[in-house]
């Protein structure tokens, strides 16, 4: 069923892709993002503490969550002719090699402005045990001159 602004209701769900996190996926994200912070590379370094926090080993980039949420939003928006306009996220828990994560979205509200139409979406990423690892919100524009892809 094609998503349209008119048909969307608060509470409608968007399912994102599952993503298996491994040392290789984290290394690939280093190469793709040029973020070679040792948090994501160096197990020896990660034995140390960061203030009160000890991660115990390398962790996935927080922005990998962001990229997955963004992928979910654009894959949902493009076929509807809609445009991903904003994403805000906060990291709640670290993600480690061996975890499987999945972003999801829930339509929160719709808004019509003078020149366009907007959908606000609560987003989150959960790990394989259902724990939230990231939360946030997205804003998608449904222009009146729909150009479906």
């Amino acid at each position: 069923m094609t998503t349209t602004f008119e048909k969307l209701r608060a509470g409608d769900a968007i399912d994102g892709p599952t993503f298996a996190v491994s040392r290789e996926s984290i290394r690939l994200f280093c190469d793709a993002s040029l973020d070679y912070n040792p948090l994501h590379l160096d197990d020896e370094y990660m034995k140390g503490s960061f203030g009160k926090t000890n991660f115990g080993g390398i962790i996935m980039h927080g922005m990998n969550n962001f990229g997955l949420i963004s992928r979910m939003i654009t894959d949902w928006a493009y076929p509807a002719g809609a445009i991903h306009r904003r994403l805000e996220t906060r990291w709640v828990k670290p993600v480690r090699p061996g975890d499987t994560i999945q972003p999801t979205g829930i339509i929160k509200a719709k808004q019509v402005t003078e020149k366009s139409r907007w959908v606000m979406i609560d987003v989150m990423v959960r790990n394989q045990t259902g724990e939230k690892v990231a939360t946030g919100e997205a804003l998608v524009e449904f222009p009146r001159d729909l150009f479906c892809q």
Binding site: P38, T74, Y78, R86, T89, W91
Partner: protein, 158 residues
Amino acid sequence: MAQTQAFETDFWKDANLRKVWDDIVPGEPRKTIPYTLTREAIELYCKSVGETHPIYFDEAYAKTTRYGGLIAPPSIHILLMFSCTPADDWMRSPGTVNAGQSWSYNIPARPGDVITLQARALDKFIKRERLFVVHDNVFFNQKGDVICSGRGWTIRPI
């Protein structure tokens, strides 16, 4: 040209040249470098997060869309943040922890775009013994159009 030099992947190198929390002045512009976004860089980024939409890969398809050609995913700013900043930028300090980010998207980046960044620390504060810096960033294409703008909260290494 700076952008043709090999990217230094050892973030410990030059770590002593980078500003610590105490040195960072909110409002002071960060040094940035122009970066030419390539199709290969977009495809590598897509691979890292599993993006498969043809608008990023298939030129013939992309021409039929609203955008009239290949584009990069909105979240390509994740790469641009590092490709548009020099090795002594404090964002590369080992142990920098990203606490969250917010980004607004205007127009897509495209392969071949020469992208520039205007960036600064906007704020710094201490909360629960953690040293925070808020950074503020705007990416432009070669025509001066805003691609996206965003803000991030980082916890600085102690």
